[in-house]
Structure formats: C-alpha cells, structure tokens
Subunit: 234 residues, 2 copies
C-alpha cells in the first residue's frame, strides 16, 4: 500500500452514503457534505474511538488530527488499540487493520419542549466508519503528530520541540481515511405537538457557551517568554 499519496477526494464533493451512514431515524438531520464534516471534526478536542475487543465494544476518548481526508490518532505503542491495529514490526502488508468507529459530538443547546417526549439537544456530530491502520512511513508519522498538536491549538506544532527519535519510536499512529462518513445535526427550538402548545410550561432553548478561562502559565516558565499570538487569538 502506498502511504504517502493523498486519496483523490475532490473538494466540495459529498461522501457517498452507505448502509451504515444512513440513519434509521431522523434522516433529514444527516449530511454528507465534506465541508460540514470537516468543520465539525476540526472544532472538536477529542473523538470517541470505538473498536471491538474479545467480541465486545470499547469506546475511548482520544485526541485526533486531520490532514485532508485522513484522520490520525496516536498512542503509546503499548496501548491496546494501537497494538491491536497491526504488526508492531511495521510490516504494513501483513497489517489487517482495526475496524473502528470514530465519533465526534458537539452539544450546542438544551431543547426544552412542553412535553417530556420532545425534549432534545441541539448538536452536531460526525461518525466515521473504517479500518484504522498503523502509519509506518516516518514522514507521514511526523505530519500526523504535527496535525494532532495543531488540531487542538492551530500553529502550536511549529512553536514546540518536535518529537525526537526516542519519542517517535514510543508513539504509534493510526490512520483512518475519511470515506464512510456522515454528519448529523439538530438546530432550532422544540417541536411540540400542536395540542400541547398552550400547556403552562416554559419552552425554548438553553444555548451552551464554550470559551476559555485565563491562561495558567507553567510556574517554571523561562523568563521573558510572552504569550504567543496563536493563544491570544483563541
């Protein structure tokens, strides 16, 4: 397998829907638009990565990064999903890969309806199905690790000490191509039944706000180091 060629995925095109990415319910909330999917992914600090171990599901929160149509997760070479994903010797031809489901969710608001039944959340989510494979190409591995750092704070990877050989060797990186992907979202107010509209219950939306509290510098920060611009712009 060629690991350094970017898959051909024309910008602006939509992902093809599959049996797994068409929801059984609320299909009108689903979208396969690439730009919408990328935006939801890029805004998230963590994903929830699901895999199967001994026949049972495991869901773990983890950092991730995106480079075009590829997602990357990383971990110690000793961690379970990384060990399960393939040969530790990096023989990619023998790597069957690890079937995963990678999900990202933003909760944007609480939807309070007159009826308990119609209570809901406003949210945006992305679900990615696919086979995660260990990255063995050293250049791709470095690119992936930079993307993981820049995913959380854009611009940060260039303003920190890059991984050295020992750290690179201790870190395993998995790649998951964006291929079988869907987004789902809900916006707006409650959808109460017509006969409930005059009930004496407050209804509406509680929007959730996300932001940052003041920076907490390391107490042992070397003198003269100012807060970098990419943090002031957060």
């Amino acid at each position: 397998m060629e690991t350094t060629t970017q898959p051909a995925t024309p910008d602006g095109a939509a992902y093809a829907a599959t049996d797994r990415t068409v929801p059984t319910r609320a299909r009108e909330r689903a979208t396969y638009d690439r730009a919408a999917v990328h935006a939801i992914l890029d805004e998230a600090y963590v994903c929830h990565l699901g895999f199967v171990r001994d026949g049972a599901p495991v869901v773990l929160p983890t950092l991730f990064g995106r480079v075009g149509e590829r997602l990357y997760v990383h971990g110690s070479t000793g961690s379970r999903p990384l060990r399960m994903a393939g040969s530790a010797r990096g023989d990619e031809r023998a790597d069957p890969g690890l079937p995963v489901c990678l999900t990202v969710t933003h909760v944007d608001g609480i939807v309070l309806a007159r009826s308990a039944f119609h209570h809901s959340l406003n949210y945006r989510s992305v679900v990615v199905h696919g086979i995660a494979r260990q990255v063995t190409d050293p250049d791709e591995k470095r690119t992936a690790l930079d993307a993981l750092v820049d995913h959380v704070v854009p611009g940060r990877s260039a303003d920190s000490r890059p991984a050295n050989a020992k750290e690179l060797a201790a870190t395993a990186v998995l790649r998951l191509d964006l291929d079988e992907v869907s987004a789902k979202m809900r916006t707006g107010g409650p959808n109460d039944d017509p006969e409930d509209m005059d009930l004496p219950y407050w209804s509406g939306v509680v929007p959730l706000r996300k932001g940052y509290d003041p920076l907490v510098p390391s107490p042992d920060l070397a003198p003269g180091i100012e807060v970098p611009g990419y943090l002031r712009d957060l």
Copy 2:
C-alpha cells in the same frame, strides 16, 4: 429477572477493577470511586454508546440518565441499538442483551508543553462496560424517562407533560447497570522533561470554560409563563 429491585451497592464503596477497567497506560489516572464516577456522569449532556453490529464497532452520541447504580438510554423502538438489544415483544427472559461500552468525557483544559510529545488535555472520563437490556417494567420505564429529562435539567421532568401511552409505546429504554466501571482523569500542568525546561516555548494550561448563553424562549410561548427557577439556577 427482577427489574425493580435496586442492586445492592453500598454508597461510598468503589467499583471492583476488572481486566477491562484497568488501563494499560497511565494507571495512576484511573479511579473506581463511586462518587467520582457519579459526578462525572451527572455533569455530561451526552454519552457515547458503543456496540457491535455485523462485527464492526458503532459509536453513537445519545442522551442518558442515571438512577442510583443504573444508567438508562432511550430511543425509538425502530432504532438500531434498541432493536438489537432484545425482543420487541418484551420477553425479558429471552433477551440476550446488547454488549455495550458507554463512555462520557469532559475536556477541562489544553495542556501545552515545551515538547510536542508532552502536549495533552486535562479531562475526566468514565467508561462503563456491560450488557444493556430493554426495560419492560412500565414503572421503571417512566422512572427512566424522567431521569433522562432531569439529567439534562434537574427538576424539569416535573414541569413538563409526561409521556402518554402512545409515546411510551414508541420509546424503547435500555438499562445498563454500573458494575464494570472506571473513571480516568488528568489535571495540572505539563510534564515536560527536565532537559526541556529552558526551551523558549510558552507552556501552561488553557482552561476551558463552559456556561450558558441567554435563554431563547419559544416564539409561541403561552402568555404569562415565567422562566422557571431550575433554569435561573443553571
């Protein structure tokens, strides 16, 4: 199976660690304390529910509620995990249940280290392994649906129209007992290597803030309905 008796789980005791709940890495971040687990669960708006479908993992975000040592998720009787969890006829003796992993994560801060390698997030997460089973007892189902609403806005279930017979029939509820459970958390600043301490990179923590924006009342709210106290107290 008796569905209405609460399992005997002494308050304050810890969950027993199992092979699945002892992390392979960073074991010092794990805790099995019931109160700590409950607090992390109760603060979350959604969980990520993992199950296995056709041998592959599926991870979906969903609302949940907690009643003591039981978690509840709900969905349309037509949705995939609900259908997979058991007999639609509610014959619980014949219900093999659905192996699930239910995970909740809060991201509390971005940890910026001098080295790319030591970048991290401060977080609190809970992972629950177990078998989800359909709730067939009508009283337990009502209790579960109230808990789902009150989980998001405490006090709300008593201030909305309860589910009617048709809504109850259209809603399936799954129960997952808190038995095989662990929490994991990271707090504090970056853990840079001693030889990196004088590097000219800003390091520290960017704390994430969560809050609410002003309420958005439904435009068709009946006149004279004031904002309830449980929303003013959010």
